[in-house]
């Protein structure tokens, strides 16, 4: 662990800025992008997500949640039936009927996403036209947008990318002579967002927006003076579209762990011309708290070997955190998709020779994992119990997406997520 806050450290000779990557193509064991709706529908409080898909999509949504969220969730599935496929019913008319019924039932909805699925993509149901058509009918009370969460195009967290990318064109244009402003992109837990907001205010960045906002009517404007900071490493398409509207990315490590959070804040501060000393002073207390919280788990995790199956695309920054702040050894860092540019700062902090893999052939990867016999395996829910039964210790990857882990105050929680399975194993005597 470093002793002073870092800001984009110079890649050392021993780092891996441009590492070799094992690319695999075979059976995958990952969620599709629809799963992102689980957290997106809670984040944007007046948005509704209507999946246009099959019974499988609906079943995924209720099974993947692990528990059914019965507080009338703000998502649903319009299940395509035989009559829609056979042309007996016009799929577009059917969709309009379903949407109108839904909006009648839920007058509180201001933003409706039509979410494409594998079946709707394969039958080429044009949801962007449907969204335009429906928008005209229900505007101005409700805005209708669309994106695809299909498993033939998106993996797990890419669903959030697709959703935010759909929002970008609808954001208001900030005037060209507007002052420079900061936009944080990516869903963060509300409490984490509030923490960052306070820190940015403390260091003197006057105006900070978050995308997505908590309300449909409060989405930020963007323009050539927007400087944006990614809060999540899986937002490639959203970033591309923001740049298309003039926004400029602030290169930074992702705000995971004490070091990541410090690097992230420093990168933003530097962009706005704030002296590093001012930033250091503003974050000194939370940084110290984060280090203290993380250090509690160092004894348990240092020297332990970790293996990542691909899941959330958070693997690289989390691996960086576990390696640098907790002293863990990285056996394999698997990720569904490797965005080298966005991950540059995190990669620069990883040791040379780290084994990366992209994509998946699950049976081969399980073989590698067995052979490597790591101390802890990060994997999806389908694999966790079978690997535990083989004697491995696992951490469910999905918890990393459903738990607030970003920022100083959560750095200890993030470490604890990895310590807990080892701790549990140590306690059990049966």
């Amino acid at each position: 662990m470093t002793t002073s806050p870092v800001f984009l450290p110079e890649p050392s000779a021993a780092s891996c800025s441009n590492p070799p990557i094992l690319r695999e193509r075979g059976q995958r064991e990952v969620f599709c992008g629809l799963t992102g709706i689980m957290w997106l529908h809670r984040k944007i409080q007046d948005a509704f997500f209507l999946i246009v898909g099959s019974r499988t999509c609906a079943h995924l949504m209720q099974s993947a949640a692990g528990v059914m969220i019965f507080a009338e969730p703000r998502f649903a599935t319009a299940i395509i039936e035989e009559r829609d496929l056979a042309g007996i019913a016009d799929a577009n008319e059917e969709l309009d009927r379903v949407v109108m019924r839904l909006l009648e039932r839920r007058p509180d909805i201001r933003l409706l996403f039509l979410v494409g699925s594998c079946p709707s993509e394969v039958i080429k149901l044009d949801l962007s036209r449907a969204a335009k058509r429906l928008s005209e009918r229900v505007a101005p009370a409700v805005r209708v947008l669309n994106y695809s969460g299909s498993g033939i195009e998106t993996t797990f967290t890419q669903g959030e990318d697709a959703c935010l990318a759909a929002l970008v064109p609808s954001l208001a244009a900030a005037p060209a002579d507007a002052p420079e402003s900061l936009l944080v992109v990516g869903v963060l837990a509300d409490a984490v967002e509030d923490q960052f907001r306070r820190i940015f205010a403390d260091i003197g960045i006057p105006h900070v927006d978050f995308l997505p906002a908590r309300k449909a009517g409060a989405m930020p404007g963007i323009g050539p003076n927007t400087r944006y900071l990614l809060a999540q490493p899986f937002l490639g398409e959203t970033a591309r579209l923001i740049e298309g509207r003039g926004g400029q990315r602030i290169a930074a490590p992702f705000p995971l762990g004490a070091e990541g959070a410090a690097g992230w804040i420093h990168a933003a501060g530097a962009t706005f011309g704030i002296a590093p000393a001012v930033i250091d002073a503003a974050i000194a207390a939370p940084l110290e708290r984060a280090r203290k919280a993380v250090s509690r788990y160092r004894d348990m995790l240092a020297g332990r070997r970790i293996f990542f199956f691909p899941d959330s695309q958070l693997e690289v920054p989390i691996a960086r955190f576990l390696h640098r702040e907790l002293g863990m050894e990285l056996v394999e860092v698997g990720t569904p998709y490797f965005h080298k540019e966005h991950l540059a700062a995190d990669l620069a902090m990883l040791p040379a020779g780290t084994a990366f893999s992209e994509g998946q052939d699950v049976d081969r990867q399980i073989e590698r994992c067995r052979k490597a016999a790591p101390d802890i395996v990060v994997c999806g829910l389908g694999l966790a119990n079978p690997l535990e039964a083989e004697g491995m210790t696992t951490k469910w990857a999905i918890e990393l997406v459903f738990t607030p882990i970003q920022g100083f105050e959560q750095a200890g929680d993030l470490a604890e997520l990895f310590a807990r399975p080892l701790n549990r194993r140590a306690r059990l005597e049966v």
């Binding site: 990952v30 969620f31 099959s54 079943h59 099974s63 395509i80 039936e81 498993g151 033939i152």
Partner: protein
């Protein structure tokens, strides 16, 4: 298109997975995109299985669609065979795989694998999980046992003298509601009756076991939703009669013993005498008096719902006020059962309709699935789970069957537990304003933490689901209706326990209506009470 929030059943290929996962030495190659792999977690997390389901997903992506997805499928078949060395393979497509029309059946046939390859046609846009499980089991049985079928019109060979009667136990699958424990309960019962179990399937059966299904004298169908079509085919092909009674409850278990004994040509009397359940005595115990006429709403798969209705009425003395199923294939059976209880069956797979019905009927107990558990929680009505769809809680560590006499004991405990005990219920009626003993108070043995927000429940429905307001809330209708309530009568009505208040309100209003009474007074309320009884 059907607007759906929660579903009772998954798609048909999940039904096929339940069969494949229950069996040994069988592998399922599924033409499907990556997202469909979520289904693995149903088995590894909900059922806590220690092995991955034996399923290979071809994992085609958008960029493959213009190219050769068929080759991808064939490669997946070959690699799965090499890696897992199954004794038989089932192949098919998920909903998306079906749309790209690669013909898995033809491709698998052409693949030249040295094992039986059984193609599945599971129309994802018409059918659902249980149908998919039934069709898959039927296809496996037909393909693997078919070569051993009797020649047309041949009679079953007679059992050798001194040989035990033999039966198959059909229907238990992975991810079934208590299938694991029902198999143990019924196997034990049959063995005590001196009947050998030839094969239990699909539960832990291998393809070789399926091939010898014909060696049994008759078939016991535990779950008609799953084993019905296969058992019918076995009856036609091997002349094996079917035990049609599902042994849930004391009465049904007795009927089951009698029916089995008849087919096995043995005397049931000693077993009816020897086998015991505590349920009959517990139900006759004076402590259970308070269960009399409790209004119960039942919803689940057809088998469990019909069985629960019988147990509820005949063995616990409840009144069945609602009975329904999401198993459309068995709608007729459920309608007939409902008619026996003098009610109309609710056949739907829309949980909002079920919720509206529960709200309308205001039962004192709901017996349902995990969906009804949530509905009941919201409405503040006690609930016990009797059927799939399942949740991790439905796989208890302890032995907890639904079938046989031990199962009947489990039913008694599980259904009575959520209710308020007799004396407590009386006290609640007597001292309504007690700050701890108020309206929505949960049974004290369940602790205050689990208290259901009974009073809040009604407005929640009205706000969240406006479309349901007409159906769901009698209170709204009343204020607009022709008959009004005097304030003192309203006050008096509130002294009636919340779970029967809706019924009292409706009864009083119809009583007033029939007599042309425009204003309901305290007098009217008690006149109506005297008129209707409890």
């Amino acid at each position: 298109m059907q607007l759906t929030v929660w579903t009772y059943e998954g798609p048909p290929h999940v039904g096929a997975m339940r069969i494949a996962t229950a069996m040994r030495d069988l592998h399922y190659v599924l033409h499907a995109p990556q997202g469909d792999t979520y289904a693995d977690l149903l088995f590894t997390m909900i059922e806590r299985r220690s092995k991955r389901p034996p399923v290979t997903y071809t994992t085609f992506q958008a960029r493959d669609l213009g190219g050769d997805t068929a080759a991808l499928f064939q490669t997946a078949c070959h690699e799965a065979y090499e890696r897992f060395k199954p004794k038989a393979m089932i192949v098919g497509a998920s909903c998306t795989g079906e749309l790209i029309q690669d013909d898995p059946a033809g491709l698998a046939k052409a693949s030249g694998l040295p094992i039986p390859v059984i193609p599945l046609e599971l129309p994802s846009y018409q059918k659902k999980e249980n149908w998919g499980a039934a069709e898959t089991f039927y296809q496996i049985v037909r393909h693997l046992a078919g070569p051993h079928a009797l020649p047309p019109n041949a009679a079953r060979p007679v059992r050798a003298a001194g040989e035990k009667p033999r039966c198959n136990l059909l229907g238990p699958t992975a991810l079934g509601f208590r299938h694991r424990d029902d198999v143990r309960a019924i196997s034990g019962l049959l063995e005590r009756m001196g009947i050998a179990i030839n094969v239990t399937a699909p539960w832990e059966a291998s393809p070789a076991d399926i091939a010898r299904l014909g060696n049994a004298d008759f078939n016991v169908v535990l779950y008609p939703e799953i084993a019905g079509p296969a058992a019918q085919w076995l009856k036609r092909s091997f002349g094996q009669p079917i035990v049609s009674t599902v042994p849930i409850g004391v009465g049904a278990t007795r009927d089951f013993i009698t029916e089995v004994a008849r087919l096995a040509e043995i005397d049931p009397a000693p077993f009816l005498k020897a086998e015991e359940s505590r349920l009959p005595w517990y139900s006759r115990s004076v402590d259970s008096t308070y269960l009399t006429g409790k209004r119960v709403f039942i919803f689940g798969d057809a088998t469990h719902a019909i069985a629960a209705a019988r147990v509820a009425r005949e063995e616990l003395g409840f009144e069945v006020v609602g009975l329904g199923t999401y198993s459309r294939e068995f709608a007729r059976d459920v309608r007939e059962a409902a008619a026996r209880h003098g009610i109309e069956a609710l056949i739907t797979d829309d949980y909002l309709e079920v919720e509206a019905k529960v709200a309308e009927l205001q039962p004192e107990l709901v017996l349902g699935t995990q969906m009804e558990r949530h509905i009941a929680k919201r409405l503040g009505v006690p609930c016990a789970v009797i059927s799939a769809p399942v949740h991790v809680q439905d796989f208890p560590a302890r032995y907890s069957p639904q079938m046989g006499f031990e199962g009947a004991d489990v039913l008694f405990d599980t259904w009575v537990h959520p209710l308020m005990m007799g004396l407590e219920e009386h006290l609640l009626g007597m001292f309504r304003d007690d700050f701890e003993f108020h309206d929505g108070a949960a049974p004290s043995h369940l602790g205050h933490a689990s208290r259901a927000p009974a009073r809040a429940a009604e407005p929640v429905i009205e706000v969240a689901v406006p479309a349901m307001a007409e159906a769901g809330s009698a209170e709204v209708a009343v204020e607009e209706g022709p008959t009004g309530w005097a304030p003192e009568a309203e006050q008096e009505l509130r002294k009636i326990p919340f779970f029967v208040r809706g019924k009292a309100r409706r009864n009083t209003e119809s009583f007033a209506d029939q007599r042309g009474i425009r204003l309901i007074t305290v007098e009217t309320l008690y006149d109506a009470k005297a008129h209707f009884g409890r």
